[in-house]
Subunit: 266 residues, 3 copies
């Protein structure tokens, strides 16, 4: 476990029009004015636990050792749901216990998960609707001031994880789904290089195309500019996922693809 | 009055697509490269003085002593309107003299208000349309370099304040209004715990509901998850305001409530 | 050429909903945790090379000496297009070689342009679709750690520039175009004080109006508040460009003006 450095990232569904995020930043800086804050995003769809989990997975590993990652997508704030402090080999994570850290639990070799129970890390405030400001921000700030994870609460092992969402082999076909549509309209599936390897070893052949609804796309391009104009094409994207794109166009809109839709590698 | 620290917050209606905000940041850092900048928001509705005033009130107090808060919502830039430097016990505020600091004047025990008149704090630039970059940013930056408030201009007492906007008791009913709709579609009224106390002491009874148009909501929930599915409910929000919400839904859209609409506590 | 300071600005078309920008920030901070990052904007229209070039020109000069400006609007990522490191008297710029730095080449007295060829500055990653994270971010970070520009690659002189876009005199009329519409709906032309001077010296008279489609606007206001209510008016904006505005209104929407539309100074 590293020492916490004064670098805190924030990932929330609070949007950017309200006083929610700047309140959290004020609390962080009020406790430790040396903290540097990086916004991962505040545009997670409201209550989008799965989307936040995927977002975090896609970028947390680039940050330096000791970074404190704070995730607040928290539809059950104020209820009995627990708040977590997770320590891994390189990082700290603070988040509600609702599955938003699922990929961390899966990817990281060593995780220590604690329920934040120590009341001294909670701010006295009106209402019970804003743990981002009243619990997660002060807890993160005190961590950067050198408070030990052990002082936050006891270790637990029954934390919440999201159901497994891997593509599955079924009758010589790999069945996956569309998990994300990005800013450029690119369509990202949950099929990665690992699953394509599985396809090969199970079927003893190379895959020949990706089917979505009534469309089948074939062949993988090496970069976006290689795509034919106006046609949906396949690429392995920068996170290793199989992705559908249209060169300088919006594949999602053009083809009508949506998050959750089934895809088949054949 | 504190010494200014190198922490500057920005609250504007400049949006995030143009070069306005990054120009201000460049000027701040050009004068003092050690400044750390926190964006409160740049999404105040264009020319939305009231909204900016409410936004600032909702989060400024969390920041550390010596923070310099810069507010630029400035429809009358270039006209004769004055620019203000306000010093309080803990903070500095720079803003046009148009009422955007009204809550600061009301909330803070001690305020020193100056008109910024010293030309040495103004940048030489084309046009007279961008005091955010040409006056407020350099003025804030020089403050973090140790310039004294007294060097900016003379004390004034005839600064602009917005008209009082408190709910009022009328015939055993507390009449207020909807003042803000947040990112989640929650509907925030201008009724706070203080006014509910007034209601009780005037009427000698407990209030029984909040009426908006033809709807009446009853009972206050302790947290969002307690709400019945699909029904508008009441809660005291994280700033102490009475708020209408729908559990994991958008109350404003579902009920058609709008900013400015009247509400009655009965 | 200055020494690089630990201040890095980012200008991209990546939007703010995806993991692209926070991945770049993670890489920057992973290599040099002392870097301070300023977002110029991530809302450049997708693949909008011209818009990014204009945006950069509008604000880069306010930043302190040694700032590292990173621009990633990069439709041809993964193809053979080169990546550039440009050193000027005051700054460093990193960007794809697609014309996005055209105004820098034109404005700056001294530019050293290099192709980034040294593989040690590239991150090992999946795919070839994300040079923002895999090439530009690490290259910028190493620059702030003191690596010399010469270590990145050889000097080149055949870099790409956008076609000249100045207004032109034609038969006693100055023909320009609308180049930008800002957050307030203000309509910015490519006519600046310099071109108005040209108009005067060629025509031997003062200009009398600006014609767009069937509308002609006359006279230049000194500040926005001077405009007549509801009427489109002219102003020299904060970057020295001739601009059409409506007092507290949206000129672009009200008049139906669009980027690219022709304007004539008569």
């Amino acid at each position: 476990m590293p020492s916490a450095i004064s670098l805190v990232t924030l990932l929330t569904d609070f949007g950017e029009t309200d006083y929610f995020v700047p309140s959290m930043k004020g609390v962080l800086l009020g406790i430790n004015p040396q903290i540097r804050i990086v916004d991962l995003s505040h545009r997670v769809p409201p209550h989008g636990i799965e989307q936040a989990a995927f977002f975090l997975k896609s970028c947390y590993e680039y940050y330096p050792d000791g970074t404190v990652h704070v995730v607040v997508v928290d539809p059950d704030v104020g209820s009995g749901r627990r708040a977590l402090l997770v320590s891994t080999t390189r990082y700290f994570f603070l988040a509600p216990d609702n599955g938003v850290l699922s990929y961390i639990f899966k990817n990281e070799a060593s995780v220590e998960v604690r329920a934040i129970e120590n009341k001294q890390y909670r701010l006295d405030s009106a209402g019970a609707t804003f743990d981002g400001r009243d619990l997660f921000a002060p807890s993160a700030a005190w961590l950067t001031k050198g408070q030990s994870p052990g002082s936050y609460g006891r270790l637990i092992s029954d934390y919440v994880t999201l159901p497994d969402d891997h593509p599955k082999m079924n009758n010589q076909v790999l069945q996956g789904r569309i998990m994300y549509i990005d800013h450029f309209g690119n369509v990202i599936t949950n099929i990665t290089a690992t699953e394509m390897e599985t396809f090969r070893s199970v079927t003893k052949k190379e895959w020949t195309g990706l089917t979505v609804g009534e469309m089948t796309m074939k062949g993988v391009k090496g970069f976006y500019g290689e795509g034919a104009t106006g046609l949906p094409e396949l690429i392995i994207n920068s996170n290793g996922h199989l992705e559908i794109f249209i060169k300088q166009g919006r594949a999602a809109d053009r083809c009508g693809f949506q998050v959750g839709q089934k895809v088949e590698l054949i």
